[in-house]
Symmetry: C2
């Protein structure tokens, strides 16, 4: 089983996709054979890595995962594209337990040839995210330094604890990442203090600064590491990559 | 039937809650008896208006809506709080059609004493958002001036068109709002051009600038109009309010 990180937070727009793509690019650069799985019907991770969404979600298909895995422009980085179709999402969200089990089984059996796997989740705590948590070895939670960030954190932790119980402790909290960090704003420091008080050592030392290079990179189908290698955003994701690899 | 605006976009973190709260405060200031309905299990609109989430979602209860409506610190502004409980959200998301119909019926029958109603939606195109669209007279779509914004726009329009067909044209597109607009970023101008090309006259003339006062206001349980009346953010939401009222 590869190291499988679930990038999740029910709050929208906190940097889940951005973190999945750029952290994966960092792992690939460190020589790890890495797969990004796009579980969000918005398919942002698929677009950011230059892929096209599938008509049917590969995780629901009976064919082996490897038939759907795409190469990206980055050596050692591969993509399992997402699917915009609501039937599939609805099928996963509303289907019987069996559907989530298919998803879990496909993730577990289809990823053994990789060293690391990152799953980009939609902004919800529905069955898709719960199935992703259940198939992962750790959860990484990006948090924006804004007021609403803390409101949903307790709920997110509750859902993670439920998953940890159900998987008999296989899932652990990989870490909490502060994103879009703006050192000049008092609000940022206030939320930073609150997050560190609530999460303690789970919070990564590395924070990701707000940097327009990070927001521009996906329009070129590149990670920020390739698009703007000397930017603060790129350096921060490389630093985060080192810290995550250290925590293994 | 009051004018009922559904504030929706499946993309996360684009300013749905911020727009629902501050636009509602603008309507109340213009003398309209206004209700904010919090349909998001994150309950951010509830927190931003100083309310507490309910144990059971008021829209699913058999009691009349008015028993759950709360006053806020703002004259003429009322709140129907949200509910964090997943049972209710799951019930709405997974339940039979009947559940969505209860929601729709409760919105339609319970809001007749108001002049305007704003519904804050979660970042998804699931049954909750679709039921909200079906109970509204118009949909207002906040869009962040970032690359991923356009990726999901076409899907959102498709879902809105489906709703317009199902409600025999009662729902119309109220407008598209550009949020977190940063005039100094080239990315902002690029996305602005793309959005106006795609949506044409639906795009409001008013854009909401990125302004930290907007992000600080909810931690004081206030709208930005009350928290920082001379800020760019407050002026922009007042301007938007005038433009929305003009479009009626
Ligand atoms: N550190 C950063 N600096 C500047 N912009 C950023 C940063 N991180 C993310 N962004 C931008 O902010 C927006 C939100 O980020 P992203 O889409 O990754 O969040 P998300 O949590 O995946 O959203 P969703 O909840 O919709 O899935 C994107 O437009 C992204 O480019
Ligand atoms: N114009 C603005 N300037 C600065 N910050 C803003 C602005 N609009 C919103 N924000 C902040 O950006 C974050 C995202 O906004 P908000 O929570 O309203 O988006 P949302 O679409 O409701 O998110 P979700 O998809 O999670 O429901 C919040 O922390 C909010 O305070
Ligand atoms: Mg995302
Ligand atoms: Mg919201």
């Amino acid at each position: 089983m590869p190291r499988t990180l679930c990038i999740a937070n029910q709050k929208g727009g906190v940097g889940k996709t951005t973190t999945a793509v750029n952290l994966a690019a960092g792992f690939a650069r460190a020589g790890l054979r890495t797969l990004v799985i796009d579980l969000d019907p918005q398919c942002n991770a698929t677009g950011a890595l230059g892929g096209k969404p599938c008509a049917r979600h590969p995780l629901l298909s009976t064919e082996s995962l490897s038939t759907h895995v795409l190469e990206t422009d980055i050596r050692d980085l591969f993509l399992l594209p997402g699917c915009r179709s609501f039937q599939d999402v609805n099928l996963l969200e509303h289907g019987e337990v069996a559907q989530s089990e298919i998803l879990q089984r496909n993730i577990e059996t289809g990823t053994s040839s990789f060293d690391s796997v990152l799953i980009d989740c939609p902004p919800s705590l529905g069955k898709l995210t719960r199935a992703a948590l259940a198939s992962s070895s750790e959860v990484l939670m990006p948090i924006q330094c804004e007021y609403f960030a803390m409101e949903g954190a307790a709920q997110m932790i509750q859902a993670i604890k439920q998953c940890i119980d159900q998987t008999e402790g296989r899932l652990k909290i990989g870490g909490v990442l502060l994103t879009m960090y703006d050192i000049s704003l008092e609000l940022t420091h206030e939320v930073d203090n609150e997050v560190r008080e609530f999460f303690g050592d789970f919070v990564f030392d590395t924070v990701i600064p707000r940097d327009v290079a990070i927001a521009e990179a996906p329009s070129f189908g590149q990670s920020v590491l390739d698009y703007a290698p000397r930017s603060r955003g790129s350096r921060a994701y490389i630093e985060l990559c080192m810290e995550v690899l250290d925590r293994d």
